[in-house]
Amino acid sequence: MIDLSVNIAGVRLKNPVLTASGCFSYGEEASEIYDISRLGGIVTKSLTYLPREGHPPPKVVETDSGMLNAIGLSNVGIDKFIFEKLPFLRQFDTACIVSIAGSRVEEYVKMTERLAECDGIAAIEANISCPNVDEGGLEFGAYREPAGRVIAEIKRRAKQPVIAKLSPNVTDIVEIAKSVVANGADAISLINTLVGTVIDIEKRSFKLSNKCGGLSGPAIRPVALAMVYKVANTVKVPVIGMGGIMTASDAVQFMLAGASAVEVGTACFIDPMAPLKIIDGLRDYLARHHEKSVKDIIGKVRRS
């Protein structure tokens, strides 16, 4: 029997495969297709205090081995989430991680206080790295001090472990990681999308209504993997890796680089069953390498 369970900041996950924020909505759609209790956990769409419609179309564009999105944090808002979406998610035996995003520190604080009163939330993922809103979001994640400050404020009110989700759009992601950990982050997840754009040369216009968007998918995987490796080597808290994970072998790479768990994002669009295939493939990999526990491969890439 191979043990797939991992531990992230005191939260036991039955397996290390989570669905990434914004790539699973609030679980309803996928639950019609398969039993989402099989997942290690799910990360909700990022919530803001008030609901957001998001950017007008076009909101997505396909790129070479990847895609750009400028969804603009469409979400139902914290109230509707707590009253309608969370009760639904509680029915499932999987870790529910709630992603929150704001344009001011007070918004993160107000949401954290609301979530502190709720049962059935395994952890909070603080999205301080969304590239798709004009004000805030990424501004917190882009610099050491504001990143640390917002995490400290969330941490003071949070009843659940706090995961800081980092942006790759920075000079040195390790510095941001150190800052959020020094300010109490219980875990780190990385990477959010890379800022990118595509131009239609006939119309001489941007292909996204928001001009720029966030690049995800296989195209960003090597970048993400290197960042996960560097951060996991520096901080003492668990790291959740993501960025273009499509298959179990991609997930294994992230775990060998030091990730204690992985989030699957864009792959859920291409194939709804991708997270389950990754879980099965992970088990096969461990069997093939005579490993008893997935924990035994975390950070086990050879250094020399």
């Binding site: 297709i33 998001g54 296989p218 194939d271």
Partner: protein
């Protein structure tokens, strides 16, 4: 034509499937195709497509007997045709396949083909899609081409306007390029007529999780304050569509 198992059994007119030809990363997304025909007995499912980009080019290169990833049926589909109402089906170019399926379904459920007016249009004769199948259903389709190389000269919208003129009460089912649907929607609004429009959109996921295909619709009256203070509401074409009621969409 696919050997599509349960997808063919469950398919309803106006629904679509996502097709991914290979596990390759390029093109990354599956491609959505409206269902042209589905036979629950043989489990055969038919789509029609035009080679447009890399996804369709890859599909065209596949040979009989090869496997592809299919996902579906997806989307809300058309409401069933009400035999008591006067009905016009307006198909522009690649909008024909789902409307054929709708008409076939209605005929199979006992509706006389003569109760439906089917307008099938394209830019020119060569781009007309398989209109012969419409005659097989017993329909007497009104064919039109922009350049007059087949049927009446004019667009689907021109012909629809002519067909609407003598009628008081009619329901229109339309599918075609979004530019055509916009015109149809305006036409229906002017005549205060009801109708259903099946929209085309790029879709990364096809089942509602990514919101990438969302279109602007008029916000519900009871919508409270929003963070981004938009004058629009968004609906996902893949799961809240692809069929929208006339007057619902905010066109660009």
């Amino acid at each position: 034509m696919f050997d599509a198992g349960d997808i063919a059994t469950a398919a309803k007119p106006g629904q679509f499937i996502q097709v991914k030809t290979s596990d390759d990363c390029f093109p990354l997304w599956p491609r959505p195709f409206s269902i042209h025909d589905a036979d629950p007995v043989t489990a055969h499912l038919t789509i029609m497509f035009r080679i447009y980009g890399s996804g369709t080019a890859q599909m065209a290169a596949r040979r009989p007997g090869e496997l592809m990833h299919l996902f579906g049926p997806l989307g809300n589909g058309f409401p069933a045709v009400d035999g008591n109402l006067d009905v016009i089906l307006a198909a522009g170019g690649i909008g024909l396949p789902p409307l054929y399926f709708l008409a076939k379904d209605a005929v199979e459920k006992g509706l006389s083909p003569h109760k439906m007016t089917f307008i099938a249009g394209a830019k020119s004769k060569l781009e007309l899609l398989n209109e012969a199948r419409l005659f097989e259903l017993g329909l007497r389709p009104v064919i039109c081409t922009d350049d007059g190389t087949a049927g009446r000269r004019g667009t689907v919208v021109d012909v629809l306007e002519q067909e609407l003129a003598p009628r008081q009460k009619v329901t229109v089912y339309a599918c075609g390029p979004n530019a055509m649907l916009r015109e149809v929607d305006l036409l229906l609004a002017r005549g205060n007529l009801s109708g259903f429009l099946s929209l085309e959109a790029l879709m990364p996921c096809g089942y509602g999780i990514c919101s990438g295909c969302a279109v602007r619709v008029h916000p519900p009256a009871d919508r409270g304050p929003t963070d981004d203070r938009c004058d629009y509401h968004l609906k996902r074409v893949c799961i809240e569509g692809p069929v929208f009621s006339a007057g619902e969409v905010m066109w660009d």
